[in-house]
Subunit: 445 residues, 2 copies
């Protein structure tokens, strides 16, 4: 059987010795043990590990009933959330949707996001769109007090209530939030919104396979049972005590390369639909490892587009880069390069080939060129873009991330540095209780 | 008068001494001299320097006549190009357009891109869209033989000819290409396409103010006269022998920080419309400076979204980062945060403020938090997002880039590393003449 996630590290040869790699493999197995037995730092947040095999049928069927209900009359769904409450859903929906989903084919609702930033222009223009549509909202927040989604939800809730009336608003809002505590849970209970639970032991960046990701992905028209099944298969594979376990392999090689002075890991894709998979990956690894002055800096490029912008730097700039390519074996569409009798562009040697054949040779040619230029290459292959394979890919990256951060000897599950700007922001905005901080900041910059 | 581009480097204090900064300022003035007198490396490519003040009225009026012609009956314009023939137009159109331009308001044509990658899925789905619309194409390529746009143009040209007939196709295709040479120029002459010239002395990444950028931006409905005027004002300002010259100031500080061990420059925006301004900037600086093992690695984040993904790393990961914020003083729209009588989210202290007020305090709070965490901050301020200010911003970055690369002592105008993957790709694809390279690559990876 074809493996859903296949790792190839041949093109790291020469950058890491066999002895070093095998040392990091041993460290990876130790890290895997610590993850599995829950003895490491942050072990209150290991709920994501067996989510795929333990997702209750009632969650799926409750999601499916909302999909069915809203499909009758809703054509714009505003998903309100930020960070882990945004990137999982956004990345899956972008990967699985037609490139021009919102411009052709009227049978699927348009999915848009709100509260993923504080842009006034964006949200004012979102309201312009809402006024032309039949709107529903999924609001995703553990606490309900995170500034961006809370501010956006105030605006959206008030629009929906004014437009459809308070009774109908109850049908048009679903909350994904804490099981029992928090501002959003309290509000949802009071208003009578349908709710889904974000488990206590799953952090934001590991939540794509909870209703945080599942509900928006299902509403967009995709098969979340297949997504979960793909992840469940990977849950098994990523437990193996084998150096072929992809989570072991990826975690070991990236740490080995980091130990040799590589500083930046570029997630490379050759399909623009995977751009937000890279954004999701950046949060996963950046937030899990970027602490205590450590961590590979996660960046991303979308080739071949960015070969024409970042290609020069990658080939010849500072030699501190790693490329990790998420490669998709089979294209879901086919398009043949036509013959041109005049051959004015000299490309008739491509005629009859598929565009994906060219893309694949660009990928291999680039791998060799960058390797020869001093950039090691890690290949992560999936068979095609579909729900099953994406589920496997998400789970693989999550498990590899846990292993990798434990090798680095940091807590994969906290984010101690994300509060500092918020404290400053609250003080600057005059939040009660932040007066002394406000005084301290006065006049700086 | 309000300056169109204002640089503030107060939040680099402590990272660079006054003496070092003043040394880099001197180097910047020398680099400016070399640029202005054309005595540096790559001086065959200085045509961009006086483009704004010298753009011929006939170019503008020819562009305007195509806008008028196509506005009658075209509702989908496919701009075919990659790298510098893509990012300038894409960045301006994204910045200036309504966030949901293609979902509301039917009076403006939809602008889509092709040949900016080799994705088979993307291009097959673009054809799906084309079949529902009245299509025209702008094809942008100096040579006409760059693989991605040439392949895409084969497909688009053949679709347009089959759908509208060869005679009408001539009206529906415009080529932006070399004045006299090259495959696309030859084809355009043979077919009778209207053409615009990419000047010989302007490289791709410096071409946004040539018809490469101007034509698509005008077709999208924007005022290219204002864009050019904004750039022309900046052309004057960036000549000043003053340390307040923004190109001097930015080029000096970023090199001074690089000399102190900073390795990654993050272009930070707080408005999602500026995401592709960051992509354009990455090409400009990455391709101009990333050579000979040198150069700040250009990356980008869009806040506050990415504060919830990359914020942790920036606050506490490896201390090799610089943040350069493109800040927009005034929002083009207004949206007030509503009062919630229940105040369940505890955010009533924000009620009555505009969302942009919050965004600005997030910006300032983040600047202070990241500075305190070891990340120097360069602020680049523009008054608002419009054509005039964008024109100024493009020109400022171009001039600063030329100065900066000369300080680094590399040729800002070549890209010697971008051919290597192409040679491999051609060999792997069986291009005649690449047989020996093909043999050499056989069996690698």
């Amino acid at each position: 059987m074809e493996r859903t996630v296949n790792i190839d590290i041949k093109a790291t040869a020469g950058f890491v010795s066999d002895a070093d790699l095998s040392r990091y493999e041993s460290l990876a197995f130790k890290a895997l043990d610590i993850l599995e037995d829950g003895s490491g730092r942050g072990s209150d947040f290991l709920g994501w590990m067996d989510l795929p095999s333990k997702t209750d049928e009632s969650i799926i069927s409750n999601i499916e009933s909302i999909v069915k209900d809203w499909r009758r009359d809703i054509n714009l769904i505003v998903v309100t959330g930020i960070g882990g409450s945004y990137l999982g859903a956004k990345s899956a929906i972008d990967a699985l949707s037609h490139s021009f989903r919102n411009n052709i084919g009227k049978d699927l609702p348009q999915i848009v996001f709100a509260g993923q930033n504080l842009s006034e222009e964006y949200h004012a223009e979102l309201l312009d769109l809402m006024k032309e549509r039949s709107v529903a909202c999924v609001v995703v927040s553990k606490s309900g007090t995170t500034t961006e989604p809370a501010v956006a939800f105030r605006i959206i809730k008030s629009y929906i209530e004014e437009t459809y009336g308070r009774a109908e608003a109850v049908r048009r809002v679903v909350a994904v939030t804490d099981e029992s505590r928090g501002a959003l849970k309290g509000l949802a209970d009071k208003e009578g919104y349908r709710t889904f639970v974000i488990p206590d032991n799953v952090g934001g960046r590991f939540s794509v396979l909870t209703p945080v990701g599942l509900l928006p992905i299902a509403l967009a028209g995709f098969d979340i049972r297949a997504l979960i099944n793909g992840a469940a298969g990977m849950e098994q594979i990523c437990r193996e005590r084998s150096s072929e376990n992809p989570a072991i392999k990826y975690a070991a090689i990236r740490n080995a390369l980091y130990s040799k002075g590589k500083k930046i890991e570029l997630l490379v894709t050759y399909n623009p639909k995977l751009q937000y998979i890279a954004e999701w990956w950046k949060q996963l690894f950046g937030e899990s490892e970027g602490k205590e002055g450590l961590g590979l800096f996660p960046a991303s490029v979308n080739f071949t587009a960015d070969l024409h912008s970042m290609g020069q730097y990658i080939q010849q700039g500072e030699r501190t880069l790693i490329e990790t390519v998420v490669s998709v074996k089979r294209s879901n569409r086919s398009l043949e390069i036509p013959l041109d009798e005049e051959n004015s562009d000299g490309l008739n040697f491509l005629a009859g080939k598929s565009m994906d054949d060219c893309n694949k040779m660009a990928e291999l040619g680039t791998k060799i060129a960058h390797y020869d230029g001093g950039v090691p290459n890690i290949l992560i292959e999936i068979p095609s873009i579909n729900e099953f394979n994406l589920g496997a890919l998400y789970y693989f990256f999550e498990k590899a991330c846990g292993v990798s951060a434990y090798i680095l000897n940091v807590n994969p599950f906290d984010q101690p540095g994300v509060e500092e700007y918020k404290v400053n922001m609250f003080a600057l905005l005059g939040k009660p209780g932040f007066e002394s901080k406000a005084n301290e900041l006065k006049g700086r910059f």
